[in-house]
């Protein structure tokens, strides 16, 4: 599936709920299926800067596709990063770099997007895209 399709799928899932509490509960549930980063990588090197909670992310290139794994010490951040990874993982770097991220607005997470330093969603997206950019540069060099 293309990134865009996955995003639409997620938008549809969130549209089933009519209040924020149900959406948050669903997001927290999604966090439980997050592909977890190995504990040896839970170090400062893999921390996403700019979150009040700790969020660790690591990327690997498998058959030219990026595979992300992550974890967080906060449940809501874990849900957020799980959604992002579901969208961005298993795609080629270029597709990730070019992906639009309007969907976060449509699933009611807009308040996590403000440049307020306590909110980490934009930092997480930036970090995932940076990984993609790094791998794309590496591929171009080879």
């Amino acid at each position: 599936m293309k990134i865009k399709q996955i995003q639409e799928e997620i938008i549809d899932e969130f549209a089933m709920f009519d209040d924020w509490m149900q959406r948050y509960e669903y997001m927290i549930d999604l966090g439980k299926s997050l592909p977890l980063i190995e504990s040896k990588y839970k170090t400062d090197d893999y921390l996403v800067n700019g979150c009040q909670s700790k969020v660790w992310v690591r990327a690997e290139l498998v058959d030219n596709q990026i595979v992300f794994k992550a974890d967080s010490d906060a449940i809501i951040s874990k849900g957020i990063i799980a959604i992002l990874i579901r969208v961005f993982s298993h795609h080629e770097p270029n597709e990730i770099i070019e992906a639009n991220t309007d969907f976060v607005d449509k699933i009611g997470l807009k308040d996590h997007l403000s440049p307020n330093r306590a909110n980490g969603l934009s930092s997480m997206i930036k970090q995932l895209k940076l990984y993609a950019l790094a791998y794309q540069t590496k591929i171009n060099d080879e």
Binding site: W20, M21, Y24, I28, Q52, I75, I76
Partner: protein, 409 residues
């Protein structure tokens, strides 16, 4: 006649337009007063009034508006002089905030401190009251000593007294800890420090909203605060300094208003307070801050303290009934601040859910990482009450907190 000791809460809430706001579809409950307190209509009006009627630069023009603006600005200085009971109005310096005030003093001691001199700060400090001294020590070779805290979050005064010696030049403590709300025994600290001829700066950012400060009675050398925590606008700070110290330290910023004579070879500095107020200050902000302090005094800080203490006791009692909830900071003397965690739930998670219920709290390290390190926690949730908050709001908050805990565990 019996003195009225109660505040008129309905009338007070009417003075603050923001309290009528809806946030995420819910009525706003503002419990982040320790970060910034809300602004009464009177103060907002005074800013509008300034820009609609007499906006002009101060101390410079001979024209009517400039005179009027200068008078209002200087009148504000006199209000703060009286409020803090300073000997002279020029001992009140307007800055952009507590952070600016502290940096101004730290910078002033660059040339005065020598290698191996000692500076004492406390483990309870806000980052604003740590970083400038670290910078000062890097430049001068002076050393920082830290007053430790006990399990209740109180300063261990015996340890402080052991740190004092003939090398101690400066002591910096906050009057009230922003993270825990504990009131420190600053009068005693000042007295002891003075026995060793050390100079004391007290960070009063968390004390001034709740109690009357008398700088003469305290015999404090420098006392600093921000007016956005005492009903004023953001971007204005107060630096009180004893005349002799203000004369001793050099200016922080160079520019207009702070000089007497300028030639390209050498400029001579203006006297106090202008020496420290280079450039065009936040004129409307300073004037509005004066209106804010008048407003606070019209209610009375004693009444405010008593009412906030009721809220503190009520909320503490309610919170302690929640299973797994731990409050950090216990002391006989506390301001209306409660820092807590619930089991292993991350403070950020609880803060995010409370926000959805329209409840503003502060979460995280609260700019006081050394305290969090001491308790070995990533941070806390902090609720801080002001005199316009109510028990009903606390009830709503407790209900929302129960729902958050249910969702998160």
């Amino acid at each position: 006649m019996k003195k009225n000791t109660h505040i008129n809460i309905d009338q007070i809430r009417n003075d603050f337009p923001i309290l009528k706001r809806k946030v995420n579809g819910e009525s706003l409950i503002y419990f982040d007063n320790a970060a910034t307190s809300q602004t009464p209509q009177l103060v907002i009006d005074s800013i509008v009034d300034y820009y609609s009627k007499y906006n002009s630069n101060i101390h410079r023009g001979v024209h009517f508006l400039s005179q009027e603006a200068t008078d209002a600005y200087e009148n504000s200085r006199v209000k703060f002089q009286k409020h803090f009971n300073a000997h002279n109005s020029y001992e009140i310096i307007f800055t952009s905030g507590t952070t600016h005030s502290i940096n101004l003093v730290a910078n002033g001691f660059k040339k005065i401190l020598k290698k191996n001199d000692e500076i004492i700060i406390s483990q309870l400090e806000h980052h604003s009251n740590i970083v400038p001294w670290q910078m000062l020590c890097e430049e001068t070779g002076a050393k920082i000593k830290v007053i430790p805290i006990n399990n209740n979050g109180e300063l261990i005064i015996d340890e402080f007294e052991k740190l004092l010696n003939s090398k101690t030049k400066l002591v910096f403590v906050n009057h009230v800890s922003n993270a825990l709300g504990i009131v420190n025994p600053i009068k005693h600290i000042i007295k002891k420090a003075h026995e060793f001829n050390a100079i004391v700066l007290v960070d009063g950012a968390q004390a001034t909203p709740h109690m009357k400060i008398d700088v003469i009675d305290l015999d404090v050398d420098f006392y600093v605060t921000s007016t956005h925590k005492i009903c004023g606008p953001t971007g204005v700070g107060i630096l009180y300094g004893k005349e002799k110290w203000l004369n001793k330290i050099p200016p922080f910023l160079g520019g207009g208003e702070m000089i007497d004579q300028v030639t390209f070879e050498k400029s001579t500095y203006a006297g106090l307070p202008n020496k420290f107020e280079a450039g065009t200050p936040n004129i409307s902000g300073v004037i509005a801050s004066g209106v804010g302090i008048d407003y606070l005094n019209s209610i009375g800080l004693e009444k405010i303290y008593a009412y906030e203490n009721e809220l503190l006791e009520y909320a503490t009692r309610e919170l302690l009934q929640i299973k797994g909830l731990k409050i950090y900071g216990f002391s006989a003397k506390k301001t209306s601040v409660i820092s807590f965690n619930v089991g292993n739930i991350h403070p950020y998670d609880i803060g995010s859910i409370l926000d959805k219920f329209g409840i503003a709290t502060r979460t995280g390290q609260l700019c006081a990482q050394p305290i969090m390190d001491y308790f070995k926690i990533p941070g806390t949730i902090r609720v801080s009450f002001s005199f316009y908050n109510t028990k009903e709001e606390i009830d709503e908050f407790i209900k929302a907190l129960h729902k958050a805990i249910l969702m998160l565990s």
